[in-house]
Symmetry: C2
């Protein structure tokens, strides 16, 4: 057995443990009764320790050394690079820092769940300071190991190859046109008469509608399922993808759009190349590319007029409301393309969403680079909310800088993925349009060519090439934010 093969075997073992962790963590969110939580968390922590020990086994350094000298195919070289990236990321942190972080984050996150409701910035910021301090230590260590700046070293874990220099340029551009675009759209929409569909929409029927749409969007039920959890997500493993949603009897569109979003994530996972199953090179390219698939399904595809023409009668039929004027394609289109600046990121429409992300990015970048402190966050938040969305959040921490779980969890560097995903998605759609008449295909309910394009250019590419190359090979150019701008202008001002 070559050293490359030994490394493959090693990573496939790790993937098997990840498989079980994934299923148990899905179970924890979607199935487990509350009383099972303490023992479950301990059991999963134990598996994490075993996985970590395996991932950082001392002999691996030599295996990588020797594998590099072996004669490898192009794809095997990519595979080796990705295995090494995983290994380096796992290895670089001292165990005591990991433990301290895990403790500080779980303390901070746990307290945040009540502090947020109490608007208790004082209490929260005490815990967050500790989290930031440890994250800065992590960033410094990762920075030394990679040669990247501290924040970039964190970013690199979610979006390999992305840097704050690139993000600064991208977002600076967005900031030149976004506020004005929002204003124009708001003006255009002023006189739209939108009806809010009035519930109850029975959960059984919402579920039937969700399953129906998943089927139409090609979700493979032989390799996955839909369930319910407090916070919707896409979990499981490529051979068994578990997506979740949350139903609200008063409003069916949020669960439905959520299901479509998660179906995009799921199809990426289900479409990953079998040949590379269990290896880092066979996994999703990045968080941003992952989000591009969910946003392609949700924003590019399903909020388009032609798709809503399919969706609306399905909904009306499922809910037995063929005469409900709120369920006409026209009204559902207005509803699903309504733009309104708001405090909450997860409720934001696709036009205002980037503003939420840019705000968070700028704050977390400066926080990790040591240019600002936790105490500075509220003022910066207020100023930027005012500047980007014209909203005043002063004193409202609950719906301001305490709204997201990311920072309490210690996930710094993740936020940009959301807007990168929207940009990638728009760029994929623009490239696709050059090859086929997407609108006609949707009208004809012939989605297969669309999915085939994604399968060939994104899903089957997994991590075989880096993000830049993936974009160039599929769209003919590197990331170009113009496509998102064009998409927004065409949909909202066209």
């Amino acid at each position: 057995m070559t050293f490359y093969q030994k490394l493959e075997q090693h990573h496939k073992k790790l993937a098997k443990l990840d498989h079980l962790a994934s299923i148990c963590s899905w179970d924890q969110a979607a199935m487990m009764p509350e009383g099972g939580n303490a023992a479950r968390s301990e059991a999963m922590a134990e598996l994490a320790v075993i996985s970590h020990e395996m991932a950082t086994a001392p002999y691996l350094a030599e295996w990588f050394e020797l594998a590099h000298r072996e004669s490898l195919s192009q794809e095997e070289k990519a595979s080796l690079t990705e295995m090494k990236r995983v290994w380096r990321n796992a290895n670089v942190l001292p165990a005591d820092l990991v433990e301290e972080q895990s403790l500080a984050c779980s303390t901070c996150e746990h307290a945040w769940r009540t502090q947020r409701g109490n608007n208790d910035w004082q209490g929260f910021s005490e815990n967050l300071k500790k989290v930031v301090e440890l994250t800065r230590r992590e960033a410094k260590i990762r920075s030394e190991a990679t040669g990247l700046s501290p924040y970039d070293a964190l970013l690199d874990q979610y979006e390999p190859g992305m840097t704050s220099a690139k993000l600064d340029a991208l977002f600076a551009d967005v900031k030149t046109w976004l506020p004005e675009l929002i204003t124009q759209i708001r003006e255009k929409q002023t006189h739209d008469e939108v009806m809010q569909p009035v519930g109850p929409f029975p959960i059984d029927e919402q579920k039937a509608l969700s399953l129906d749409i998943m089927q139409k969007l090609g979700f493979d039920f032989h390799h996955g399922r839909l369930d319910v959890s407090m916070h919707p997500f896409c979990g499981g493993v490529p051979t068994d993808v578990r997506i979740t949603t949350r139903y609200d009897e008063a409003d069916f569109t949020s669960a439905l759009m959520g299901v479509i979003h998660e179906t995009g994530h799921a199809r990426y996972e289900q479409g990953l190349p079998e040949k590379w199953a269990g290896l880092p090179v066979g996994t999703a390219r990045s968080m941003g590319i992952h989000e591009s698939q969910s946003l392609f399904f949700e924003m590019q595809l399903s909020r388009s007029e032609n798709f809503i023409d399919i969706l609306a009668p399905l909904a009306a039929e499922t809910f037995n409301r063929i005469d409900d004027p709120a369920l006409t394609p026209e009204n559902l289109t207005l509803l699903n393309t309504r733009v309104a600046p708001g405090y909450i990121r997860v409720d934001a429409d696709e036009v205002t969403y980037p503003a939420h992300v840019i705000l968070r990015y700028e704050i977390e970048r400066d926080l990790i680079e040591g240019r600002i402190e936790v105490a500075d966050i509220p003022e910066l938040w207020d100023r930027k909310m005012h500047e980007y969305l014209g909203l005043n959040t002063k004193g409202n921490f609950t719906d301001g800088c305490m709204q997201d779980i990311h920072w309490p969890m210690g996930s710094f560097g993740y936020f940009p993925s959301y807007t990168l995903g929207a940009m990638y998605a728009a760029q994929f759609m623009a490239a696709m349009r050059k090859e086929m008449n997407v609108e006609n295909l949707i009208r004809e309910r012939n989605f297969q060519p669309i999915f085939n394009w994604l399968d060939r250019h994104v899903w089957k590419r997994a991590s075989l090439v880096n993000t830049d190359k993936l974009l160039i090979e599929s769209t003919g150019e590197a990331l170009n934010a113009q496509h998102l701008k064009d998409h927004l202008i065409s949909r909202y001002l066209g």
Copy 2:
């Protein structure tokens, strides 16, 4: 840290891995889409390898040596004994035998699933021969390690302390009165007019009824749940017990009685002492004691006239059939106490059930001890079915010696647990009756004193004492089959 404490820590780690294996195996049976199976099985096999390596780590021998010399409380001594039993059971087999067995059994079981339907004894017996040969090797090794006879060494894994000498005596006694008892009951029941309730019984309503009964029987939904699987079972972990059932629209009683049975298993698990969680001494005493709890709930409690008086109106109400004459307490009692010799063990009533078990016990005992060969099974099966139940199974392998999954899986020594469970259950009930008026309590729907008795005498005892002692302490005597006989006579001829 003392060596005893090190051993505790070690076993708690193992229990955490078992926790994840349990949940993933529940998921595999109750949730997983078919396409997930191959990768899931591989992932679980990987965890099993890691667990096995941990359970047989070389340093444990010395730890046990040294722990034995430490000063331990009575309970810690019991804990050490149980840890050692687990360790010895895991250690004694050479890895290549375990692997060969795992392969032979999965081949045999997999082929059995189609061979059974095809009545293909010839094909099946070829695979079974291999399984038996390897099981004999296992039994020989376990025999040498324990000083027990080969079959007893297998039996000891499911029912520690039980031997074929004891079983021979118990079953010889049963055989003196059971055939005659069956005849008498059959005669008494000849003129009973039993109505079979006619479906459909909607699955939603069956589920609601199941949950209602589980609630009444004290199932803790904060630490467990009910789902659906092809073969009902009780899985999960004590803090999160997962029971399953299978609904049949045409017949609600099978799912309902199944749920009550699994609820008995579940309450044992949920009632195990928290103080010893994660340690062998804190687990169920034996398969027979486990079955005694399910049979206590199903047979002793729920098929009693007074309980059916509660059950029948609940069912009639749930199914909206208050006037259905098939759902009166009288008819449901007749239905649930109907005795009829049949070919299939899992469909047998509580009176004929022991005959099925004794038949299998006698065959598997002689098979493992090398007194008969696989080729002899059909003739023995036919003869014993004729002798014990008056049925002719000649040539019908499907409903004869090929009906159970146990032998194809390599589970020899398990069958006696079913009838031991029925005997323990009857003995517990007899002891309980000395302390309280059980029938009155049921009539008053005051089950708590009954559950308290089981909790104190069985659940909280876990494996802190051996089975003999558990029985003596709770019922004043060692296992006594007379109680089962008395129960059957009183219920069926009384």
